[in-house]
């Protein structure tokens, strides 16, 4: 058995690079995740989120860098390692003719041999169906499920072996608000009750804020920010937006310090200012400002 100390770091990525032909998709991705931590990998489309997650899942061979997932290199991960990792990809259409419970019971069968006293594997199919809210659809053919139901089944399949580490690639795409809420509950339960380490990708910042202990922002193939949502908001001052009218004309300005800006505005024009509106930078704006900065920097470098 491995020692507990070695197990504490579930994910350890150092200097990860990925190159397709002559194009570098990932330049230098470095981050760690502790056991039981929920990490959100956030970034615009094409930032390299899926590539990163596929390398960690062991589905893609990296160009360079050191990657340890549950203490092993995913490129060499054996079946025992595989049994400890759960994977939910962006789009599945497989097993359409199978029935929901039937498939979960079948796939669970592969994990029975990896059951330990600490982690009972697999998850009982009926309990699992209930956990993802599909009980009334348990006997349905999978191809007849709605998009949100199908996605919940994908998550159920991802956790049927009670993984220590779960990868979720854009898990809530196509969810209605209700389904999204239920899904968030499920992720919280997994993290809290089963100490599952979770790495999820999303481009929904609000979702990242709700689910994750820590947010990584990936843009242009680099991690440009790493911290809790509160830390990120503190560390990176976003731009506030100020709107006003003067002499019947409308004005809009972006500023890092809206209080000083407004003071200046009144100092100069006094009573001529009307309809003043100040919108503080939201996390969303912070995120966008960050991504924009990194893209500009990449543009200069080119």
């Amino acid at each position: 058995m491995k020692t507990a100390a070695r197990e504490e770091t579930a994910l350890d990525v150092d200097g990860l690079r990925m190159r397709y032909g002559t194009v570098d998709v990932l330049h230098d991705v470095t981050f760690q995740a502790r056991q039981g931590e929920v990490l959100a990998l956030l970034g615009p489309n094409g930032a390299g989120k899926t590539t990163t997650i596929e390398i960690l899942e062991g589905f893609r061979t990296r160009s360079a860098g050191r990657v340890q997932v549950l203490g092993a290199d995913p490129a060499q991960g054996d079946e025992r390692w595989r049994a400890r990792v759960g994977v939910v990809l962006q789009s599945w259409r497989d097993h359409g003719k199978w029935r929901v419970r039937e498939l979960l019971a079948h796939l669970g069968g592969y994990y029975a041999a990896y059951s330990t006293a600490a982690v009972r594997r697999p998850w009982d199919p009926d309990e699992l169906v209930a956990a993802v809210g599909l009980t009334e659809h348990a006997g349905k053919k999978i191809k007849t499920l709605s998009g949100g139901q199908r996605r919940r089944l994908d998550v159920a399949i991802g956790i049927v072996g009670r993984p220590e580490l779960l990868f979720l690639d854009e898990p809530t795409t196509g969810f209605d608000p209700e389904a999204r809420h239920e899904f968030h509950d499920l992720v919280h339960r997994l993290a809290a009750d089963h100490a599952t380490t979770i790495l999820l990708t999303t481009h929904d910042l609000d979702e990242a804020g709700k689910l994750a202990d820590r947010v990584l922002i990936l843009a242009g193939g680099r991690i440009i920010a790493d911290g809790s949502v509160a830390e990120l908001a503190r560390r990176i001052a976003g731009e506030d937006e100020v709107r006003w009218t003067r002499g019947g004309e409308r004005f809009t300005a972006s500023t890092a310090d809206s209080t000083a800006f407004v003071r200046g505005l009144f100092g100069r024009y006094g009573e001529a200012i009307g309809e003043l509106e100040v919108r503080r930078a939201s996390l969303e704006d912070t995120y966008r400002a960050l991504v924009r900065q990194s893209e500009d920097a990449a543009g200069v470098g080119r």
Binding site: T50, E79, R82, S91, W92, R93, W98, L107, Y110, I157
Partner: protein, 281 residues
């Protein structure tokens, strides 16, 4: 239980479930029944046509068609593999411990089981409709059994290789053309000895001919051997050729399958889906 053994068991139950699925949905059930019904109808109408030597065309065709059907398991295997790559089934197997092993066992069980069912669907009514078959002795059935077993060992791994090599359902269409050509020259619908000699040689290089021959040797009376090459059932050669294909397939298939599986990832599945959608739209 050992994880590898667990995967074999899971694979077996997987095959059984898939087999049941293919007999409980309308479209697939139709494809199981349509072909045998067409064949039986054709054979029924040509039951009185003779080939000379007192041999009836219908009785010669029935075992040949059985042999051909078995060989077509290759095409089925290849199509299923391609379809399973496109929809992510294979990737799912890859994400499961020993999942690829379970997947392949399941595929072999369901394809082989489907073949046997198809054979029975054709053979049982065939025995009633067609005269001139020699099916009284246990020997006949023993021969059917070993020819089938060896034939599947020769063709199913090949099917897996073809399914791995062609990336899309479209490419699969290309596989079918040469297979149809081989069916035409493999002595299924008329004796291979009626063909030019060079075509005879081409036919004899592939498993379809030998599966047909093996089946005829099992189900036809001894006198029927007269229309075969060398007036012999050539069991030794049958074992040789089918065995060689089986050895080749079993040696190559794991390598090709592993290479194909290694390339599967979420984005490759998504990419193929986009392509397929573009084709439709």
């Amino acid at each position: 239980m050992n994880p590898g053994t667990a995967a074999l068991r899971a694979g077996w139950s997987r095959g059984v479930i898939e087999l049941r699925q293919s007999f409980t949905n309308g479209a697939e059930l139709l494809s199981h029944l349509l072909w045998p019904v067409l064949m039986l109808t054709a054979m029924y109408f040509m039951r009185d046509t003779t080939l000379g030597g007192g041999l009836l065309l219908g009785s010669m065709a029935l075992p040949s068609i059985l042999g051909m059907n078995a060989a077509l398991g290759m095409v089925t295997m290849s199509q299923l593999l391609t379809a399973d790559r496109e929809d992510g089934t294979l990737l799912r197997a890859k994400a499961t411990p020993h999942g690829m092993r379970g997947y392949l066992v399941g595929k072999v069980v369901s394809v082989a089981g489907g073949l046997l069912a198809d054979l029975a669907i054709l053979l049982l009514p065939g025995l009633l409709l067609i005269d001139g078959l020699a099916v009284g002795s246990p020997d006949s059935w023993l021969t059917v059994a070993w020819v089938l077993a060896l034939g599947m060992a020769a063709t199913l791994p090949l099917g897996a290789v073809l399914g791995s090599v062609f990336p899309s359902a479209r490419g699969q269409g290309l596989v079918q053309v040469p297979v149809l050509g081989l069916m035409a020259i493999s002595g299924i619908f008329y004796p291979v000895t009626a063909l030019p000699e060079w075509l005879e040689w081409v036919a004899q290089a592939f498993p379809i001919y030998w599966l047909g021959l093996g089946m005829r040797s099992a189900l036809l009376p001894d006198a029927a051997v007269d229309i075969e090459i060398g007036d012999s059932w050539r069991h030794l050669e049958t074992v040789g050729v089918l065995g060689a294909w089986a050895a080749l397939g079993l040696a190559v298939a794991p390598v090709v399958l592993r290479r194909m599986a290694r390339r599967e990832s979420g984005s490759s599945v998504a990419e193929r889906r986009e392509k397929a959608l573009r084709r439709v739209g």
